[in-house]
Subunit: 130 residues, 2 copies
DNA sequence: CTCACAGCTGGAGCGCACTCCAGGTCAAGT
DNA sequence: ACTTGACCTGGAGTGCGCTCCAGCTGTGAG
């Protein structure tokens, strides 16, 4: 049953490097079910497979875009539940994407206000207009 | 000493409407020194002047773009300290602006990954390719 | 006069997402 | 044999930014 191709696995330290999550966060994500129980080497140390690292990449993407952990868990559960949840997952991602779009739009609007302020201060400080 | 033009003031409730901050948040911001002690009507109820509402707009802009409260306090203190702090304020805003730019860039990068996923699910669900 | 209502205060509590800690284990190097 | 360093566990603690609460007061409508 087990695959014959030896998928290279990653030590916890390597996985920290690869994903940008801290060791504590990796363990935390496992505890709360964002990732499935990770395989262990003899001695109990975790070994993350490529597949795990890829999934962590997805989580990173969702976190970076502000998805709350509860929502990520929902998504993770659907992924585990198999291909029958494609439509649901799609809907979830589409909704999230709209949120991200709004977020970007807000940031850009507010950023232009910041630029106005910056210009204001620059003008006030400039040695010009003699 | 007092101005003769009767600046219209706003009740707490109005200010909630105008700024999008909750009553509790308005009081909280006052407590921690993000805004100066607000004038009171007889009876002790707060009356926000136009000027206060505008400053709250600045705070909203900074909050929306993710500036931590501690940094906003720094900024508020410089504003209170007068025109001698223009250069410092400019530097603070410029640094913040760089952070916002990074934030937007990250969101856009990750959003394109989300789009890939969405396309993937759409393809998997589409009834096409017969 | 009575009542509802908006707002007041000081202080406690909350939700989120980690982050830290004490005390232990295992493998490899010298 | 000893030490070092990476990692383990369960559980407690942290930081941020609010948010809620009890108990009170002043104002205006009916």
């Amino acid at each position: 049953m087990s695959s014959s191709t030896s998928t290279p696995t990653h030590s916890p330290g390597e996985t920290v490097e690869l994903t940008g999550f801290s060791l504590d966060t990796l363990r935390y994500y496992e505890r709360i079910g964002l990732i499935e129980p990770v395989h262990r080497a003899v001695g109990g140390q975790r070994r993350y497979r490529e597949e795990d690292v890829e999934w962590l990449g997805v989580l990173r993407c969702l976190r970076d875009t502000g998805m709350p952990i509860a929502r990520m868990r929902e998504f993770a559960e659907q992924v585990r539940a198999g291909d029958g949840t494609f439509a649901h997952r799609l809907a979830l991602l589409e909704e999230h994407d709209r949120g991200v779009a709004d977020q970007i739009a807000l940031l850009e609007r507010q950023r232009s206000r910041i630029h106005e302020k910056i210009e204001h201060y620059r003008a006030a400080l400039s040695p010009a207009h003699t």
